[in-house]
């Protein structure tokens, strides 16, 4: 029966292929959507987990925007007083409070803007993915700089080289270069906090304070206490993740609506293909009934053809989602808040099974009426149709 169904589908190759492509496109959209959602959630959660911090102190304003900008290595127009760092460090439940000062240094002659970050030793446990290349050391003095892998390659600098910034009129010695991590750190210039404050005329000011707690259970208490810090506000990583997932969720709902339209169209297309097949092959189906095929066998044959077409279409769509999805993912990354460094696409086995199940479901729904139509004809009725 299966072989007969395959041959029937191959008989009208072009029509079958176009119907199959319609299903593949619909499934690919849906698979990408689901895979992006899962990938974004997983990547974001992994990235925030890797940092091992539970909250940040950021300047007044939109806390989520501020936190996202800091995490992705972007500057803020407003800043925090140093007292915020003291307040965090003096809290008994805070294990690490790492200050960050981020500043942009325009390089008109190069046609780009470099991002410089002032940090101190306390940042290192919060950046577990940092690996210094061989020969590198941590800051030795206020004139040391650690370059991200991308920054080092752009500046053509090695460990021990001098880096002169004409815009700031300062010279630094490259004390270390970070191995490529795929994060925004790759393109940053890290310098000691004191040097950064001096270089960017931000004495006594910070962009943010990243905080790791001794016990993450204490997050509510610490958050309440630090909320009273003058000129600062607290944003927890859980809140941030929730907000970003909600934002992405709203976009996903919109795209889901498009995917549902695509699936509806492909279902109608399969329906149309199967109905045409029944009409074209009515007399042939009559012959089959005459030589002994029962109604249920005719129904099954048509249903198999429909399901086979959509199942293969779904598999092709899944493949398309994996191949084209990676490229689309790179584009989408530019539009989502706090995109994770790893791939946005996460096609799990369950997702693959769900997509195939969806295809089979579409095939079944679209095939039921044509198959029923074919099976209800008596052989004599079917044979009368020429």
């Amino acid at each position: 029966m299966m072989e007969l169904a395959v041959r029937n589908l191959l008989r009208r190759r072009t029509r079958s292929i176009f119907t199959l492509l319609g299903v593949a496109a619909a499934v690919a959209i849906l698979a990408c959507l689901a895979a992006f959602g899962q990938g974004y959630q997983r990547g974001l959660s992994q990235e925030l987990d890797n940092m091992g911090m539970q909250m940040m102190l950021v300047p007044m304003g939109c806390p989520f925007d501020a936190a996202a900008r800091v995490l992705k290595g972007k500057t803020l127009d407003v800043s925090l007083p140093m007292t915020a760092l003291d307040a965090a460090r003096s809290d008994k439940d805070v294990q690490i409070a790492a200050p960050l000062l981020m500043a942009a240094l325009p390089r008109p002659s190069e046609g780009r803007t470099d991002l410089w970050v002032g940090v101190d030793e306390s940042i290192r446990p919060l950046k577990p993915w940092w690996k210094l290349t061989s020969g590198s050391t941590w800051f030795t003095d206020d004139h040391s700089v650690i370059l991200g892998a991308e920054a080092a390659s752009t500046e053509l600098r090695r460990v021990g080289d001098t880096l002169f910034s004409p815009e700031a009129n300062r010279s630094f010695r490259v004390s270390g270069i970070l191995e490529r991590s795929g994060t925004s750190d790759d393109s940053l210039f890290f310098i000691p906090m004191h040097a950064a404050q001096e270089m960017f005329h931000q004495s006594g000011r910070l962009t943010a304070v990243a905080i790791r707690l001794r016990d993450p259970e204490q997050i509510t208490g610490v958050s309440t206490r630090l909320q009273n810090t003058p000129g600062a506000q607290v944003v927890t990583m859980t809140e941030m993740m929730g907000t970003f997932l909600n934002l992405v969720g709203a976009v996903r709902t919109l795209v889901l609506a498009i995917a549902i339209v695509a699936i509806t169209i492909s279902t109608l297309s399969v329906f149309n293909t199967m109905l045409s097949a029944v009409l074209e092959r009515t007399s042939e189906l009559g012959v089959m009934r005459a030589v002994g095929a029962s109604r249920s066998q005719i129904f099954r044959l048509l249903a198999i053809e429909s399901i086979l077409m959509t199942a293969v279409g779904s598999a092709a769509g899944l493949l398309l989602a994996v191949v084209a999805g990676r490229m689309v993912g790179r584009v989408v990354k530019n539009f989502v808040p706090l995109p994770p460094s790893e791939s946005l696409l996460a096609v799990s086995g369950i997702l693959a099974l769900q997509c195939i199940a969806l295809g089979v479901g579409v095939g079944l729904i679209a095939g039921i009426y044509p198959a029923w139509q074919a099976s209800r004809l008596t052989p004599a009725q079917a044979l009368r149709v020429e």
């Binding site: 008989r11 012959v287 005459a290 029962s294």
Partner: protein, 250 residues
């Protein structure tokens, strides 16, 4: 031994394989009713070679389809092997058709995606039985052994019809029904098909053909002539069945 065979053949000749009692088939076309068959009664003995003739629209094909359980009558009753088909479900009619009847169509009815061999064994796909050796024998019988792997479009009309006959015989039916089997063939191929039917009938198969071909009709032992949904004449009627039926008595 020979005497025994003769006795069995005689016994078979007495066995009524099909009995039609007042078969009527009505088709509705809007407000009109068309009597495709009008109160037709007759019987067919096992081993008969019978042709049904008549002008177009006489009801020949409708009668053949009713005989083969491909349709149900509007009224009347039909018995196959003394079993009434009245009120049988579609599944039971299908089984009856599958086990007792073989069909040959004017347009051959071969599936274009299948080879000759695959077309011949197609009915066994639905009856779920293996008939490979029977198929080999049938291929030999209809002279298509060398064409077994060819698709229908690679065959001549005569070859296609012979393949269709082999397919009709694969389930070992008692009755072979053929609707204009020579209608699409030239005279040479038509004659070959007639010879094949005669051979099959000599081997004991009951053959009923609907035809416009006078040579084919003359080659059968009994001719039923139809007009306007009624039997006009029957060259060799079996016996009288009902007083109100459109039936010729001896």
């Amino acid at each position: 031994m020979i005497n025994r065979i003769v006795t069995m053949k005689e016994a078979a000749a007495e066995t009524i394989i099909i009995e039609a009692k007042g078969l009527t088939k009505l088709y509705r076309r809007g407000a009109y009713e068309i009597h495709a068959l009008d109160n037709v009664s007759f019987s067919i003995r096992e081993g008969e070679f019978l042709s049904i003739v008549g002008p177009s629209g006489a009801g020949k094909t409708t009668l053949l389809q009713l005989l083969g359980c491909m349709d149900t009558p509007s009224s009347g009753e039909m018995l196959i092997d003394n079993q009434s088909t009245k009120g049988l479900s579609d599944a039971k009619l299908t089984r009856l058709r599958r086990e007792h009847v073989g069909f040959v169509f004017q347009g051959f009815g071969l599936l274009p995606t299948l080879t000759v061999m695959e077309n011949i064994v197609l009915p066994t796909l639905f009856s779920r039985r293996n008939a490979q050796s029977t198929a080999e024998e049938l291929l030999e019988t209809v002279g298509l052994s060398s064409r077994r792997n060819h698709r229908p479009h690679e065959l001549s009309g005569g070859e296609m019809q012979r393949a269709a006959i082999a397919r009709a015989l694969i389930n070992g039916p008692k009755l072979l029904l053929a609707d204009e089997p020579t209608g699409n063939l030239d005279s040479t191929n038509g004659a070959a098909i007639i010879k094949l039917f005669q051979k099959l009938n000599r081997d004991g198969l009951t053959v009923v053909v609907v035809t416009h071909n006078s040579t084919l009709a003359e080659s059968t032992r009994r001719v039923i002539s139809m007009r306007d949904g009624k039997i006009e004449s029957d060259s060799q009627p079996v016996f009288n069945i009902g007083s109100n039926s459109n039936h010729l008595s001896i």
